[in-house]
Every structure is written in structure tokens, then in C-alpha cells.
Amino acid sequence: MPEDRQVQEDRTGAWEPRIVAFFCNWCTYMAADLAGVSRAHYAPNVRIVRVLCSGRVDPQFVLQAFAQGADGVLIGGCHPGDCHYQDGNTRALRRFRLLRRLAGEMGIHEDRLRLEWVSASEIDKVRWAVNDMVETVRRLGPLTVRPPASPHAATGAAERVASHV
């Protein structure tokens, strides 16, 4: 359950890390839910997206999160060997290792992207993972991403050309 204090940016305008988390339905999301039921607090900076498996996290999701204002991305999956779908978490690990390299080359500090294994019962681990991620990103500072030139797609050429030919 998010702590009592609100994310500071909403109230005072001071920067607070904004973390997008992709949590696996069968483990990390359950742990976060259990933490809520148990009234165990963790940092409120995290926006959790429930996915059916950490292997479902398309690298495009991660790039999109960074492009749209996330200061960090946290992926939570089942411990090795415990994947609900046998090896989705192993695939997530492999993608994560390559995606970290890509992020680094693109100018995003590698520690802004993180993968943690958390089982459904590990309340303390999910709290630690979220809190530690927030503190890591707090030390790295706000990620500023100037939006790219927006792609344009025109319509109406069909009519303009048909009337011309």
C-alpha cells in the first residue's frame, strides 16, 4: 500500500522519481497486492502495470515508458524455475540484459532499468525492490526526454490525385 505521504510533485512541485513497474500477475503483482492487504508500506512513486508474465514485457513498452516521462522502469517476475509459463522469466532476463545495453547507448543510465525476482509471498522483497529502485533513481536525478519531432501522416492525397489524373 502506498505510504501516507503523496508523491511530492503533486503537492509542492518538487521532483519525485516516477517509476513505471511491470509486475507479473503470478508473483510480483501478488506480492504487491499482499503488501497492500497487510498494510506494509512502500514508496508511492511507482505506477504498476500488471502483465501476465514478465516475458510479456515487450521492449517497446520500456522505450515508450521512458519516452513518455518515466524516470525508471522496474520489471518484476517469478524466481528462476518458478515461471507460470515455464520460461517466460528467463526470456525476460535475456531481453532485459540486451535492453539495458541499448538504454545505455541511447543515453539512459543502465540503472534506470531493473529486473527483480519476487515471489507471491515476498512482501519484504517487493517493498525493498520498489524503495531501492526509487532511491537509485533519486540519486540519478530526473530523466529529461525532449519529445521527438512528431511524425506526420497526411490524408486526402487519394482525392487530390484522383481529381488530377
Binding site: 540519478l140 519529445p147 506526420h152 501522416a153 497526411a154 490524408t155 490525385v161 489524373v165
Partner: protein, 316 residues
């Protein structure tokens, strides 16, 4: 049809390969020229900007624009052609996704020559200066509205012919439609049958130091091939030349970021289960951006590196 339709073909940061693809139409080009004229084609003949500046707005049937947009001149030309043409086609990987020149977007902006760009040593009197560079490298679609795209580096002559025939028949693309099959290259790959149901990378082999089997799927040979994340339409030209796909046709319409999609494909197949082992295999790919975004960096979900930074932390 009373008079011939008029077309334009302008190059921005283009190597000339796309223009060559038009010339490569051969006899088919002569047939097209019976029905249309090029009002502007500086790669082929001595056309000047004045040749189209005087044309009424919207008078050209279509403008084919090649190359990425890197200079003030490119930008002006693209805007001018947008005004003069009913249909704007981004032609080739550079106009479509930034192409190889867009790899310069990995540089910080102060590393661009910019105003400090050295002037040519010998300059004739009255000769205008070189145009100002305008980083970052952009696609044509990031400067003006684009109606259609002919992908490829260069586009295959078949695609160019089909696109021109389509335009002259009055069926223009719209909404930035990519005028090539909307399936992955693997669908039309001549080595498709050779691909194993299960394959993995225990290490990456690089094509220039590897003896490649000309019949077996490159991915099955441990060579990075962009086919799974790249649009078909090239007639597998590189594959038939025994070289892996490098991704010049860009992604299919369902994919937003070609490099990220390929990372999902390639990394999942790495034959390793611990972070250390995975890293050891990935060390065989020394240039992540260059491998996965060789043509598509300007069209990535992430902006150029110069647009990514760490902000100041304001104190309360």
C-alpha cells in the same frame, strides 16, 4: 487526361541510390514518361529550385523525396514540394526512417559541425555558402505530412514501378501508407523451409568472418538477420546474395519500433540462463544501436540522444 501529369524527385541527404532505383526501371521508365514528366529531378539533369518555385501550388501530381532531412536547404525543399504536390512520397530508408545518416543522432549536438562547418577551400566568387546543418537528422515525415512511403535502401525497382503506376492511375496512398507487403521478410525468404522450429544463439557470428551456408536460415547459423522484424518487398535481395537482412525496409504496420522488436526476438533466443552467461553471448554484438537501428534510429520511440538528459533537481 488532357496533359501529362508532372512529378518531382528531390534529394535531401541521399546517396543517389534511390534515384538509381528509378533509372533502373529501364524500358518501364520510358513507358511511364509517355504519361508523366519530371518537372524536377536534379539527380538526373540540371533542374533548379526556380523550376518548381514558379509552379502553382498543388500542380504537381506527386513528389518523391529521398534522403533524410539534415540541412536548412533540405527542410526548405521538403516544405516547398509539400506545397506544390498533391501527394508526397517518402522514398527510401532515409526519407522513411532516417536511414544510415540518422546514426549521427547518437552524437551530442555540439559535436555537429554546425556554424563551424569548414568552408570549401576553393570557392568561386558569388558562390553561396554551404547550407546550415539542422540537427538532429529527421525523416521527411517529421518535417511535413507524408502521404505514402516507398521503403528500402534502395527500394526495389518493382516497388518503385508499382508505386508510380498506382499514382498515375489516380490511386494515391494516404496516411503515410508504406507501399510494400505488410508481412515480415521471413514470409518470403527463400531459406524459410530451412529454419528449425527451435533455434538459439550460443554466440553471435559476424558475416564478414564466417563461412555462410547459402541455404540455411541465417539466424540458425548464429548470424544476426533482421528479417523477423523487417517488412518484406525486397525480393530477399540480400539473402539471395548470401548476406543477412539489415532491416532497410523498416517494420510492419503492427510494430512501433523496429529495433526494440528485434531485440525481443534476438534476446529471447540467447542460449543462456544467468545474467553473466547472457552477457557473455551478447558481447558478440558490439554495437547495439548500429545493429538494431541501422536504418531506423530517427524513427525510434526514443528521441535522439541529444534530447535525453538528466534534469536539475529543484529544491523545495
Amino acid at each position: 487526361m488532357s496533359e501529362k501529369s508532372r512529378l518531382a524527385c528531390a534529394w535531401c541527404a541521399s546517396c543517389g541510390g534511390c534515384e538509381e532505383a528509378i533509372v533502373d526501371l529501364g524500358p518501364a521508365l520510358l513507358d511511364l514518361l509517355d504519361r508523366a514528366d519530371f518537372a524536377f529531378f536534379p539527380a538526373l539533369a540540371d533542374f533548379r529550385r526556380e523550376d518548381i518555385e514558379g509552379v502553382p501550388d498543388g500542380a504537381l501530381l506527386a513528389a518523391l523525396i529521398t534522403g533524410s532531412v539534415i540541412s536548412a536547404d533540405d527542410e526548405e525543399m521538403v516544405r516547398l514540394l509539400r506545397r506544390k504536390s498533391r501527394c508526397v512520397i517518402a522514398m527510401g530508408s532515409c526519407a522513411h526512417m532516417g536511414g544510415v545518416p540518422a546514426l549521427a543522432n547518437q552524437l551530442p549536438e555540439d559535436a555537429w559541425p554546425g556554424a563551424a562547418r569548414p568552408a570549401p577551400a576553393a570557392r568561386a566568387a558569388g558562390e553561396p555558402p554551404l547550407p546550415e546543418l539542422r540537427p538532429p537528422v529527421r525523416t521527411v515525415g517529421q518535417v511535413v505530412e507524408v502521404d505514402g512511403v516507398i521503403p528500402g535502401c534502395p527500394p526495389s525497382s518493382g516497388l518503385v514501378r508499382d508505386a508510380l503506376e498506382r499514382l498515375l492511375a489516380g490511386r494515391a496512398p494516404s496516411g503515410g501508407e508504406v507501399m510494400a507487403p505488410d508481412v515480415a521478410l521471413c514470409e518470403e525468404c527463400p531459406r524459410r523451409e530451412s529454419a528449425a522450429a527451435e533455434w538459439s544463439f550460443a554466440g553471435f557470428r559476424r558475416p564478414h568472418v564466417t563461412e555462410l551456408d547459402p541455404t540455411v536460415c541465417f539466424l540458425n547459423q548464429g548470424v544476426l538477420c533482421m528479417g523477423p522484424a523487417t517488412r518484406a518487398g525486397c525480393e530477399s535481395a540480400c539473402i539471395r546474395g548470401n548476406m543477412p537482412c539489415t532491416g532497410c525496409y523498416g517494420p510492419t504496420s503492427r510494430v512501433h519500433d523496429q529495433g526494440a522488436k528485434m531485440i525481443a526476438c534476438i534476446a529471447s533466443a540467447v542460449k543462456a540462463d544467468t545474467p553473466e552467461e547472457v552477457d557473455a553471448v551478447l558481447d558478440g554484438l558490439p554495437d547495439t544501436v548500429g545493429a538494431f537501428y541501422r536504418y531506423g534510429l530517427a524513427a525510434s520511440l526514443l528521441p535522439p540522444r541529444s534530447a535525453i538528459g538528466v534534469g536539475e533537481i529543484s529544491s523545495v
